[in-house]
């Protein structure tokens, strides 16, 4: 009876509170995002006169034009696509093969390899030794300095290893009895079964690769190789030349707030477009990989 009283047409009070809180959180995210969209279409004059408005009186594409007027933008987009596609493919190759190997209990030296890999999660050499290593490998100034050195994420590998470990060993045994080689078992039987995890890791890696700018700024002195994030940072800097550290004589200002907003939109859109296609795998993948049965 008491249970029924708490329910109102099948809706529990907890649900109402939950929806209210989640709606509030959604608004906290959506409102600034919406105003960023609006700001990206505003002129400097209108922004300064009335920075908060539901829609600009005279919408302009000028801020987007300021970003794309540089012939380098399309090229840097191409570079980012290259780093993302190549980087994700290479990362996934390393992650899946290593995770698969380490998931096998009878793999010789498994504990040693696992400890070696996990060690790098806790101890890093620091920036200078890392730079020296890349320099000695002859990768400075090449595209591979962005793709290879940071290809393997140990965290992602552990997620995938847990996934592989949950697969019943009987599957492998049955396939072996049927004459399948280890490579074939990996490729045709086990890998398709961890698709949710693969999709999740692809998204993790893709977002990371797409947003990459720090190592690019460190390793790539040739601007023709720069990814879009680094190019945009440079455009943003040149539009805020009156920033406190930089004397105004260095350059001339544009409408920096508008360009910033347009830059946010330009960099977010590609990943936002990919997200819906992978979302169903994404949640499932993280949950399953995190719980080891």
């Amino acid at each position: 009876m008491a249970e029924r009283k708490r329910k109102l047409h099948g809706i529990e009070p907890f649900d109402i509170v939950n929806v209210c809180i989640l709606t509030l959180l959604m608004l906290v995210v959506l409102i600034p995002f919406y105003f960023t969209v609006v700001q990206s279409f505003m002129t400097q004059q209108e922004y300064i006169m009335n920075s908060t408005t539901l829609w600009p009186k005279d919408p302009t594409l000028g801020n987007y034009r300021d970003i794309f007027v540089a012939s380098t933008m399309l090229r840097s987009f191409g570079n980012s696509v290259f780093y993302t596609v190549t980087g994700v493919a290479f990362s996934m190759f390393l992650t899946t093969t290593l995770a698969y190997g380490l998931s096998k209990k009878d793999y010789p030296g498994r504990a040693l390899f696992q400890n070696m890999v996990v060690f790098t999660m806790y101890f890093g050499g620091g920036l200078i030794p890392f730079f020296l290593l890349i320099k000695q490998l002859g990768m400075i100034g090449t595209r591979w300095s962005i793709v290879i050195p940071t290809a393997l994420s140990v965290f992602n590998m552990i997620i995938l290893r847990n996934f592989f470990e949950q697969l019943p060993p009987d599957l492998d045994e049955a396939a072996t009895l049927d004459g399948a080689s280890p490579l074939r078992i990996f490729w045709q039987i086990d890998l398709p079964l961890v698709k949710p995890a693969i999709a999740t890791l692809v998204l993790f890696y893709a977002v990371g690769r797409w947003n990459e700018w720090f190592y690019a700024s460190l390793f790539l002195g040739d601007a023709r190789l720069w990814p879009v994030q680094l190019e945009l940072r440079q455009i943003l800097w040149s539009s805020t030349s009156f920033a406190s550290e930089v004397p105004a004589e260095v350059g001339r200002p544009s409408f920096s707030e508008g360009i910033k907003a347009a830059a946010v939109m330009v960099t977010m859109l590609p990943i936002m477009m990919v997200y819906p296609f992978l979302q169903k795998y994404f949640v499932k993948g993280v949950m399953i990989g995190a719980i080891k049965s």
């Binding site: 400097q44 004059q45 300064i48 006169m49 009335n50 007027v69 380098t72 400890n115 060690f119 806790y122 101890f123 050499g125 620091g126 920036l127 200078i128 030794p129 730079f131 020296l132 320099k135 400075i140 700018w213 720090f214 700024s217 460190l218 002195g221 040739d222 601007a223 023709r224 720069w226 680094l230 940072r233 440079q234 800097w237 805020t240 009156f242 920033a243 406190s244 550290e245 930089v246 004397p247 105004a248 004589e249 260095v250 001339r252 200002p253 920096s256």
Partner: protein, 544 residues
């Protein structure tokens, strides 16, 4: 047990790698140091041997580390001409501005700089440390082979200050090399059209006392000549409240530094004139003369409000090219706004003087890696010297002679392009873009004062900027830059730097507080002991 062993092994590996890293670095530094000293000497002797015409027969290729430049830079006519004349080619190793510090430090620590370094955001203690460690190669003592560069070294005091053990390891870039560059160009710009609308017949450069200035602001607020209502800001500053403390130097020039009193340096902030400034700003804030909530302003938000037509007066850096740009932007933003609608106020303080500071002479530098070849250094210095010649100044001001512009016998310059064509993205945007080449060597000021430059405005340059500077010169209260104190490093003084840099925040808090004196005095009392310790170090170095 197994886990404990593993932990011990990890700890041992970590300690060993740290030790290995430290010892390696030390060896590299000392090697680099000796290498730098020897190559500096080699550079000198080679320069001394050069007698007549310089020999550019050897083609040189090298890299330049910079935040400016693009791959099509070599196509800019001025750059192409320099490369041909000096038989060289260079590529830019580009670094993003906001990661400049990390990248520069990493390259310095790993001895990975290219031969030429266009060094932005030069940090003095770091510069000295790296010069002493041999990261950079010393410039020749004798720069007579480069007369234009040498002239700069003789004109500006910063060159002497940047010497480490008697050698110059970086060539600082002069910010405003113009005939009126003695004073810092923070000025008061005002809307002449609004003054006229209120019945005030003000000159382009109008001389006012501080009280008259306050009356003007009150009149603007009362009459609202722009019909802006709540959006009107009678008086704005470059970064809103974050610029208040900078302007407070008109009351206390040493509010953010050290003042010499009776032969000893003392902390400047406790001087009673600081409170005069605080109370004046509080009164302006409370009476609605200043932008509300502007303590969150950054990136010239206050200046942007003025340029968008919300403010009657702006206090901002208004050097010649910035003033030109401000007028252009206001013409674009505000319907019917003409160049002559912009004016300047020269404001006398209570003692009848104009409170002015010495302009910071420089920003950034160019330097040479310790591995830089002597001939590359000499070639780069020669390019810098060549760029400072009048003929080249005209080229980067107007473009290619005869093609982009012509000069009549009477000196009149006619441009063969429109402003749109020379702007970024236009057909002749190299005219704008090739300025970054000049900025490897000097920041600004060479072309703005060219006689009859059609790209500038006589009203802005002569009637405003020049007149303002000349008015200040009639009765200045002048505060020179004190490079000795600024660049002096000692334990307590370095530690106190954070307090000095927090002066602005405490100034804002005092202005906004109901008890400005109490708030400011608390700031002083909390830090006076540390200030005294810092001053003891300074006085021991400079006053005893």
């Amino acid at each position: 047990m197994k886990k404990q062993l593993f932990s011990a092994l990890l700890a041992a590996i970590l300690a060993a790698s740290c030790l290995a890293g430290c010892s390696g670095e030390g060896q590299e530094s000392s090697t680099a140091s000796s290498s730098a000293q020897s190559s500096g000497a080699a550079g000198e002797s080679q320069a001394a041997e050069t007698g007549g015409e310089p020999d550019y027969s050897e083609h040189l290729s090298f890299e330049v580390f910079s935040i400016d430049g693009s791959e099509d830079m070599m196509d800019y006519p001025l750059v192409a001409e320099a490369c041909e004349k000096f038989n060289m080619e260079f590529t830019i190793q580009l670094v993003a501005w906001d990661n400049w510090g990390d990248v520069t430090r990493t390259l310095a620590a790993t001895d990975s700089f290219p031969e030429v370094v266009a060094w932005y955001d030069l940090n003095y203690p770091e510069y000295v440390e790296w010069a002493q460690e041999g990261v950079f190669k010393a410039l020749p003592d004798d720069l007579s082979a480069y007369p234009n560069l040498q002239a700069l070294t003789e004109k500006y005091t910063i060159f002497e200050k940047l010497k480490v053990d008697g050698k110059l390891y970086a060539f600082p870039k002069i910010k405003n090399n113009n005939p009126y560059n003695e004073y810092d160009s923070y000025m008061f710009a005002y809307r002449r059209d609004w003054a006229e609308a209120m019945g005030l017949d003000y000159a382009p450069v109008q001389d006012l006392t501080w009280d008259e200035f306050r009356e003007f602001l009150q009149k603007v607020k009362d009459e609202d000549p722009g019909q802006l209502g709540d959006r009107l800001v009678p008086f704005d500053l470059e970064n809103g409240a974050n610029s208040w403390c900078g302007m407070a130097r008109k009351w206390n020039p040493y509010i953010s530094g050290y003042e010499l009193v009776d032969g000893k340096y003392v902390w400047g902030a406790p001087d009673e004139t600081s409170m005069d400034a605080i109370l004046e700003f509080k009164d302006m804030y409370d009476t609605g003369m200043l932008a509300a909530d502007s303590y969150t302003d950054a990136n010239n938000a206050g200046k942007e409000r003025f340029m968008a037509g919300r403010s009657a007066v702006i206090y901002s850096n208004l050097g010649p090219s910035i003033l030109l740009d401000t007028a252009k932007q206001m013409q674009a933003n505000i319907p019917g706004f003409e160049e002559e609608d912009l004016g300047l106020f020269t404001i006398k303080m209570d003692d009848g003087k104009y409170y002015v500071s010495q302009m910071d002479e420089w920003w950034g530098a160019f330097a040479f890696d310790d591995s830089c070849r002597d001939e590359v250094m000499e070639r780069w210095l020669a390019v810098g010297d060549w760029l400072l010649e009048d003929e080249q100044i005209e080229k980067y001001a107007y473009g290619v002679p005869e093609q982009d512009w012509t000069k009549a016998a009477d000196g009149t310059v006619t441009l063969n392009y429109t402003a749109e064509e020379s702007a970024s993205g236009g057909e002749k945007d190299y005219i704008t873009n090739q300025r970054s080449f000049q900025k490897f060597f000097i920041l600004e000021g060479l072309d703005v004062f060219l006689e009859g430059n059609p790209n500038t405005s006589s009203y802005i340059i002569n009637d405003l900027f020049k007149t303002n500077m000349e008015t200040w010169a009639t009765n200045p209260n002048y505060t020179p830059s004190n490079y000795d104190i600024n660049y002096f490093s000692a334990t307590e003084k370095d530690s106190f730097a954070s307090v000095i840099s927090n002066t602005s925040d405490n100034f804002i808090q005092a202005v906004l507080s109901d008890d400005p004196e109490g708030t400011w005095n608390q700031f002083i009392e909390e830090n006076i002991d540390q200030a005294n310790r810092a001053c003891e170090e300074i006085n021991a170095e400079f006053c005893e």
